[in-house]
């Protein structure tokens, strides 16, 4: 029976009030300490529901909730959690043998994460699934969302994620969860400020705090995909430096766009990413505060460091785009050059280029150099600020991987650095480089398996693509057209889009089984 179908058209307010209908005996053994408050879950539910009540007729929302409410299951691929045991990190073969969505046999607060952004991915998929189920967004026949729908999910998930964290973070993890691989620029925190200031939280039933935060602001005007505040701007309230648009972005802005969407950035063909979960005994605490403190104390140093790193980052982005262009112009030549480079250590590529020069190899060298510059810059930043951005132990294993496996462009500690994870980019032409060499990934994992100074375990995940719609393929087409050249490549419909996706339950291996057991 529905008891709550009283509505007006004048917006629905969202007072987060403690319940007046408490249990008759709250001290009974029902207290669940393992499922204590989880603001990421609670605020995702709250904001998705509130937006649905604003966007649709509230009676429709109540109908969609049904007489028995909704059951939502959130589950992660195994790579999000460290699968180590007492005997150490599992090999990739052992990881592949694990059941999908393996239970972790632990309360959620004790889980060891691998740093892939599980809270952002959880928040985004939860918000997306609720907005979809409640009829606020719809996907098309091929299970893809339109840009406007993705932007609305993005903005709502950013709100829930920021509110749960208690601050506006960098935001790229939620952006990646929606748009897939990309060149990210931060949105202006002003976009969310009024909503965050309104201070909504989800209270536990029976809480004595009767004056809990209320949020009477309508979300829709702020979360509107066409709200210009979501468009990153050099005039943003957090901007200090000068904005330099990259070639990747330049090729994307030409598209007619009513919503803000980041420029896609995909790895070029035959280049792959390998990820490792590193265990150094403890998780690295955030170093952002210390880095900011150093910037305040040494503004001149910091300014120089920032411009060096910005230039190297831009060279890397442009180099990856240039490689995609090279592939589109002459796939055969690209393939041949990659096969040659994959047989050599990347430190020997300059020598190879003397005897076997090619445009592709020159670009691979450029990307390798950019990765070295970035790594060097981040090490220097850590040294100057006195924090372990890329500690020596990590540098050593990265160097051993790059120098000890053929065709590795470079590697680094992702994101803000620390001891938790590392990645390398490597060439994979799909064949054994030569009769006496193992396939590239096996060489890399071999180095990690024998590393004793740190426990370095592989993950199965590779780099994903950008969200459907404006892919990097259309970027490449645009670039070639400006040069008056047609692409040699037929459109590839087999590419799995990255970013937020919709599925049928049966199409995801092991998913129905996992939630049935719940």
């Amino acid at each position: 029976m529905k008891t709550v179908v009283l509505y007006t058209k004048q917006g629905v307010f969202c007072n987060v009030l403690p319940s007046c209908c408490t249990q008759t005996n709250p001290s009974a053994s029902y207290h669940n300490t393992d499922a204590a408050r989880n603001p990421f879950v609670g605020l995702s539910v709250l904001y998705a529901l509130k937006l649905a009540l604003e966007a649709r007729e509230p009676s429709d929302v109540v109908q969609a909730l049904g007489n028995n409410g909704l059951d939502v299951f959130v589950v992660a691929d195994n790579d999000f959690y460290s699968q180590r045991s007492e005997s150490g990190a599992p090999s990739s073969a052992e990881l592949k043998a694990l059941p999908p969505f393996k239970p972790q046999d632990t309360p959620i607060r004790q889980v060891h994460k691998t740093g892939l952004g599980s809270s952002a991915a959880m928040t985004t998929s939860l918000v997306g699934s609720l907005l979809s189920h409640l009829g606020v967004v719809h996907c098309d026949a091929s299970d893809n969302f339109g840009e406007e729908e993705l932007a609305l999910i993005h903005n709502t998930a950013q709100l829930a994620h920021c509110a749960a964290q208690g601050k506006v973070g960098s935001g790229f993890d939620v952006s990646a969860a929606v748009w897939g691989s990309q060149l990210y620029r931060r949105f202006d925190p002003v976009a969310l400020k009024p909503l965050l200031d309104a201070g909504t939280k989800v209270d536990v039933e029976g809480s004595p705090d009767k004056s809990a935060g209320t949020c009477s602001i309508e979300l829709a005007p702020y979360l509107d995909p066409r709200n210009p505040l979501w468009r990153p701007s050099p005039l943003s309230s957090v901007s200090k430096g000068e904005s330099n648009p990259t070639a990747t972005e330049g090729l994307s802005v030409s598209r007619e766009a009513s919503v803000s969407r980041p420029a896609p950035l995909e790895l070029p063909p035959l280049i792959e990413m390998a990820l490792a979960d590193v265990d150094a005994g403890s998780n690295t605490p955030s170093m952002v505060g210390q880095i900011n403190e150093w910037r305040r104390k040494k503004p001149e140093w910091a300014k120089q460091m920032w411009s060096i790193l910005a230039a190297a980052n831009q060279t890397l982005a442009d180099g990856l785009l240039a490689l995609r262009l090279a592939h589109a112009q002459d796939p055969q030549a690209y393939h041949t050059a990659v096969q040659v480079a994959a047989r050599h250590f990347s430190k020997d590529w300059d020598q190879v280029a003397k005897t076997d020069p090619s445009a592709t190899l020159a670009l691979l060298i450029e990307v390798r150099n950019a990765m070295r510059s970035i790594q060097g810059g981040m090490r220097a930043l850590g040294r100057e600020a006195g924090v372990p951005v890329e500690p020596d132990e990590m540098s050593n294993v990265i160097k051993a991987t790059v120098d000890g496996s053929h065709g590795v462009l470079g590697g680094a500690v992702p994101g803000a650095g620390g001891y938790d994870a590392l990645f390398v980019l490597y060439l994979d032409a799909g064949v054994k480089p030569s009769h006496d060499q193992m396939v590239p990934l096996a060489q890399i994992e071999g180095v990690w398996a024998h590393w004793r100074a740190l426990s370095v375990g592989p993950l199965l995940s590779k780099a994903g693509n950008s969200a459907a719609g404006a892919s990097s393929a259309s970027q490449v087409q645009a670039a070639l057209l400006t040069q008056g050249q047609p692409s040699a490549l037929p459109p590839d419909n087999t590419i799995q889009p990255g970013g937020l996706r919709s599925h049928s339950l049966e199409s995801v291996k092991g998913l129905a089984e996992r939630i049935k057991d719940a």
Binding site: V72, S125, L126, G135, F172, A177, L316
Partner: protein
């Protein structure tokens, strides 16, 4: 008429219906398949069938295939969204949508039981390739790769007499994280004329 209760995906979309009966008036019938073949010939059999009104809400049924009637697998219907889902900001989206009907076999055997419709959405993880610290300012872009590893969220309508429902007078959303011990959160939704409240229950489900 003794039609099985059909559950079609396409949540959130209104029905051209009298109560639970979807009538497909000729004006609503699609003229063409997406592949160009004509659909009109096949429509006679589907002039009337019971459709779950919640699931079909907001959708217009344009056509359904033979399997809808015979109860075989691979049943489908074409629906489109008739109405803008948002009063504020979302434009109408007139998209064709192929809708799989899940669990037809079960339906056939237990026609009285509703088959749970699932909304499944996944989001990838991330790796910040380059741009750590700098990315906090919009002037500096970050190079972000998504991962092939994904986080999935599955939404289903609650079953009748769901285990652990604590407050029968209010609807609730229950979020389960089955990879962890005791990880279920229940949120009671107190939706009123002038406000809505969401609060977490204290109970283990």
């Amino acid at each position: 008429m003794n039609w099985p209760l059909l559950i079609l995906a396409g949540q959130g979309s209104s029905v051209e219906a009298e109560k639970e009966t979807v009538r497909m008036a000729p004006a609503n019938v699609a003229q063409k398949n997406p592949d160009g073949s004509d659909l009109r010939d096949r429509m006679g059999d589907f002039a009337s069938c019971r459709i779950d009104s919640v699931a079909m809400e907001g959708c217009m049924v344009h056509a359904a295939n033979e399997s809808v009637r015979t109860g075989e697998n691979h049943a489908w219907a074409f629906v489109s969204h008739r109405r803008a889902p948002s009063r504020h900001m979302l434009r109408p989206c007139e998209k064709w949508k192929t809708v799989p009907i899940e669990g037809r076999r079960t339906l056939h055997a237990h026609q009285h039981r509703m088959v749970r419709q699932s909304t499944v959405i996944s989001a990838p993880g991330k790796v910040l390739l380059a741009g750590g610290y700098l990315v906090l300012e919009p002037a500096y872009p970050g190079l972000v790769l998504s991962t092939t590893a994904r986080f999935y969220s599955v939404v289903q309508s609650g079953e009748i007499g769901v285990k652990g429902r604590t407050n029968a007078s209010l609807p609730s959303i229950r979020v389960h994280s089955p990879q962890f011990i005791n990880a279920t959160w229940e949120y009671l939704l107190d939706i009123h004329e002038d406000r809505c409240a969401v609060y977490q229950t204290r109970c283990v489900l």
